[in-house]
């Protein structure tokens, strides 16, 4: 028992059912033949070990412990002295748990199967390339980023955003003017920023689009400029004011 405990790490047991299956497997008994009394004792022993090791247990482990003790207590009583219960009629109280274990075991087997498939697919490659890009700005010196480069940066940023409609619990409000301030503020701190950095950490399309519009707005009013050193390099935005200030300083 002790050596087993030493080997055990909590990662192996994702949940209480994993632990139960492990115990059953270790005992080399059939799931259907499992002794609730024995497995409950073993289970609680492990829970104690976890506690000694100061491993924080998921609440599910405690729920399962309670459930096991309940089933155990019922099986200990002679049938005619068992308290009447609404849900379970004449059924063996072990049954529900066993059914759950059997079902879980099946899916675990499938998961193993998937793991094997995944491993096999490790050596499988498919073509990823598209049409070779011809003509478009191969060696053209692009100092100023054009709108399309900006749009590319935008769509790249949007692509990284996960499908929104599923997690959208709180309505997030972003406005262009708020983002104008954000961009200005960011540029005040660092002299220049890449567009991707600006989008970094933004998780909603709305927010990215507002930021993008803010960049366009600031470019229009000549407050910032977008520079791209080489084609397909990242686009850098920087404040035009700084440059003006610098030149003014040098003139003085």
């Amino acid at each position: 028992m002790l050596e087993a405990e030493n080997r055990v790490s909590l990662e192996i047991f994702e949940g209480p059912l994993d632990l139960l299956l492990y115990l059953i497997k270790k005992d080399e008994v059939d799931i259907y033949e499992v002794s609730i009394e024995r497995i409950t004792d073993q289970y609680l022993e492990y829970i104690d070990t976890f506690k000694i090791l100061n491993i924080e247990l998921a609440s599910e482990f405690i729920v399962m412990a309670a459930n096991l003790m309940y089933i155990k207590s019922r099986t200990l009583l002679p049938r005619n002295e068992q308290a009447p219960e609404e849900d379970i009629d004449e059924e063996d109280p072990r049954w529900e748990l066993i059914r759950q274990l059997v079902e879980y075991k099946k899916f675990k087997d499938v998961a193993d199967h998937l793991e094997e498939l995944e491993k096999k697919m490790d050596d499988v490659f498919i073509r990823e390339s598209e049409h070779a890009q011809l003509g478009t700005s191969t060696n053209i010196d692009l100092k100023d980023a054009n709108v399309f480069d900006l749009l590319t940066a935008l769509s790249d940023a949007l692509e990284n955003v996960k499908e929104e409609d599923l997690i959208e619990i709180f309505a997030e409000e972003y406005s262009v003017s708020q983002k104008i301030n954000f961009v200005k503020e960011s540029l005040r701190i660092t002299k220049k920023l890449s567009v991707t950095d600006l989008f970094c950490g933004m998780t909603s399309r709305n927010e990215i689009i507002c930021t993008f519009l803010a960049i366009l707005e600031l470019m229009k009013s000549n407050e910032i400029m977008a520079i791209q050193d080489n084609s397909f390099d990242s686009i850098i935005v920087k404040s035009t004011k700084k440059i003006v200030n610098l030149s003014e300083n040098s003139n003085e």
């Binding site: 994702e14 059912l17 899916f107 199967h113 498939l117």
Partner: protein, 204 residues
């Protein structure tokens, strides 16, 4: 076919080219559309391509698959996620990996695999159904799987609170090299339990 005037490619050749050029697995209907449309647009001798049907395409695919397999080109034609694609011979994989410098590949965790397995068989399925089977909270795992585009939201259920129903994506099939969910083991047995469970969700 009259080779003196113009070299009209065989259907098998066309399909080979299409699969070569495509990033995604191609379905029969996509292949058919490309061939038929070209026939209509180019007209003249090409007109005959506008009448190519599913049966011809299937036969040609089979032909192509056999020829590729017997000529040991290192390329194979496989059926994945309901479509066809080229992929390398699995034994050549290590060489490709070294070329692409893809030595560290993404491995899904056990909880992720278990959750995927449950969703795969039970879709459309609720988060609570997965949790019932696994006995632990699966919120974070599902979120991660959605991010990886292996799982998607299908629709809202009619249950109180309208919880989401999840399903696997074609990316899931591609990732595991499956053509359909039915290729998974015990699919009949594990799916059947679903229908009993799901009816609560569907009719409520």
């Amino acid at each position: 076919m009259n080779n003196d005037v113009e070299i009209l490619p065989e259907i098998k050749q066309i399909i080979g080219s299409l699969l070569f050029a495509s990033k995604e697995p191609l379905s029969i209907s996509q292949i058919k559309k490309a061939i038929n449309d070209t026939g209509n647009i180019l007209d003249g001798l090409y007109k005959q391509y506008s009448k190519v049907n599913d049966q011809q395409i299937k036969e040609s695919i089979q032909l192509l698959e056999n020829e590729l397999a017997s000529s040991t080109t290192g390329i194979e034609l496989t059926k994945v996620a309901g479509g066809y694609r080229f992929q390398n011979n699995i034994f050549c994989g290590p060489f490709v990996r070294s070329l692409l410098e893809k030595n560290k590949t993404m491995k899904l965790s056990k909880p992720a695999l278990e959750t995927l397995a449950i969703i795969a068989y039970r879709q459309p399925c609720l988060r609570s159904e997965i949790e019932n089977v696994r006995g632990v909270s699966v919120d974070a795992v599902i979120r991660k799987l959605i991010e990886m585009q292996l799982v998607k939201v299908l629709k809202r259920s009619e249950l109180p609170g309208k919880p989401w129903l999840f399903g696997t994506t074609s990316r899931f099939l591609e990732h595991f090299g499956l053509n359909s969910i039915d290729e998974l083991p015990n699919s009949n047995e594990l799916k059947r339990i679903v229908s009993e469970n799901i009816k609560i969700g569907d009719q409520a």
